[in-house]
Subunit: 414 residues, 2 copies
Amino acid sequence: MAVSTPAPLDSSKLETQFTQTERPLPDHNSPEQWSQSYQTDHMLTVSWDVTNGWETPKIGPYSNLSLPPTASIFHYATTCFEGMKVYRGYDGKARLFRPHLNAARMLRSAQRVCLPSFDPAELEVLLIKFAEVEAKKWVPESRPGTFFYLRPMMLGTQSTIGLQPAKEALLCIISVVFPNIDDTPVTKGPIDGSGETSKAFSPLKATTGTKEENSPGLKLFASASSHVRAWPGGSGAAKIGANYGPTLVPQQEARNAGFDQVLWLYGGSGFENNPLVTEAGGSNFFMVWKTPEGKTQLITATLELGIILPGITRQSILELSKDEFKDELEVVESDFGIEDIVLAHKENRLVEAFVAGTAYFVTPVKQITYQGNDLRVPLSEGTSGKYTKAIREYLMAVQYGQRESKWGVVLNEL
Amino acid sequence: MAVSTPAPLDSSKLETQFTQTERPLPDHNSPEQWSQSYQTDHMLTVSWDVTNGWETPKIGPYSNLSLPPTASIFHYATTCFEGMKVYRGYDGKARLFRPHLNAARMLRSAQRVCLPSFDPAELEVLLIKFAEVEAKKWVPESRPGTFFYLRPMMLGTQSTIGLQPAKEALLCIISVVFPNIDDTPVTKGPIDGSGETSKAFSPLKATTGTKEENSPGLKLFASASSHVRAWPGGSGAAKIGANYGPTLVPQQEARNAGFDQVLWLYGGSGFENNPLVTEAGGSNFFMVWKTPEGKTQLITATLELGIILPGITRQSILELSKDEFKDELEVVESDFGIEDIVLAHKENRLVEAFVAGTAYFVTPVKQITYQGNDLRVPLSEGTSGKYTKAIREYLMAVQYGQRESKWGVVLNEL
């Protein structure tokens, strides 16, 4: 008897069964859009087990998952996920943004919790094919400048109370509708950035003025040492469920105190007197400041300690800024601490700040509160800093087909 | 219209529907027992939502859970759980061990990930009532000295991609059969202690000799700084899924290198040169050693930094040891570091060591490997240390009805 090898993930085997009961497309700015729980018509699933490997990928009607209460995911947080958007361009085309980077990160996240491996190029194809099924209806050509949210996820599904590497798993891709944030007044939403919209903000429409006045930037609460998101030797660099549930308590405390997000500090060994600035909510954090030497610098935390998520928006901003702003900005990934921000504030060297991620996109920060002190961050353009605005415009132009870029992957829609 | 208050968890409303399709009781030492995934006939479920509060608790046939792919648990590790056992005594009675402590810890764990609150006394009653339904069949009187495993769990079930405190949740109690570890030869099982059996070990039968020779204690691999389980300001003191999935990688590395468990060190701020000894796998760690002053001391990590689980077996061992061994042992909860163990080993001051938890029970340690050095730990009684053996015997006598104790809660079986 031949020894069989577990089958690899194979996008070419994809089978599609269209739903017989289509759901209506919610209106612009409707409660359904704002619920973040109104799913599109379909889902993509691929089962895996340690003996047979990956089964046939299937797109079918969106439906509940039926799992035994003993399934690993319910007990041990054996889950990882990604967040992406499907954008409807002003040129009529639908696009994903650098999906191969999501596929590659999903693999790294899966490995961090012993979920099964796969060729990320195959996942990328599945992401594209699923988006192609849903795009025409869920971001119709009549709604350029809108998107829906794509959520790939993988769960450990084997039935056993013993903690162990995955023997069975489920890869799943689902989508939910999102409001068009450009059309919407300020709404106090959840503060994490793991999939929900931020405050409404529309730099592309900034010249019209009125909406902007409602969106004056985020207020961040710098975390106390009693709430630490991630640490060296932990899992903070992976997009896994375990990094999110435990952040709910400090996030609620911050919200209840009138803040939008937690600015996560890390005051561990070597950083006790000047805790590192790491992330904000579920987004990466960027600061533009004048250095003591007088340079204008765009700075964000390094990936070296493994305590921040290597964001795809983050990477893209670093890449585009080194090119677009090469005569104006020094662009650095570096450790920097909250006391550095306090000092720069005192010396009037803060230029602007923003958070960046798929969910929160690029959102200006107007205030950082640390140990009871409110540090105002300038918004030079009224509702945003100059660079924040330019970065937003650059990325949106790519996402909505107004700027030619290999970062925008055009879908061949069904 | 009257304003309604969300209903509290109310065990008096419990409804029971017995299964029509009973599963056979697996044989002693059968593959089903060893699988840790063979469930008993029933499960207890209670739904909760933020508006209505807790619904009617129901015991019904064990069955799959049907949840939307957008449910919080699948993405954000909004889950907590407990591990308990239902013991069949040599006196014919079935018992739980200090279930009010599990109920109280479950509440603390739930709060750590913003799952709903409840009166732990109500959960304790539900645990007892569920155990009373299952005990007669699943730990029959014909099998004294055996147990099955009880797993209370709570999941965030609301459908929304936005990270947020639970708006809907499910409390669930399930059970799986376990092998009688006294009957079984050494088996290399999973190394965590989150619900699986450890190596077979039977101090109550130690005088018979033969089985013990196969159970010469655990080999622990002291974690490198690249793998840190928990951190001050994190969630290490809660029994939540997020503390488990991320430990799979280092545990697999340890197993692949021939070790049984990871001995988790914490070398953060202030402890860089002598990393704290915290836990072993999913169990608490105890050391008996001679202090430099010549006292014989039983030591385990303090709860103060919030980086270890406050184990119920741990607490019980501390309490009983202060009484039983008051003339022999100094019993302390204190910070101690791996270098303290290295020095005590060098100076021949190590007496014995063991891990303790519901799943792993009380299991002797024979070796700790740190930075390439194998530190042997004495097993004065051949397969166990003297105190380890006495502690095991004490606890088993309580659990199996051979010692009168308020720690053993006798069930009124159906």
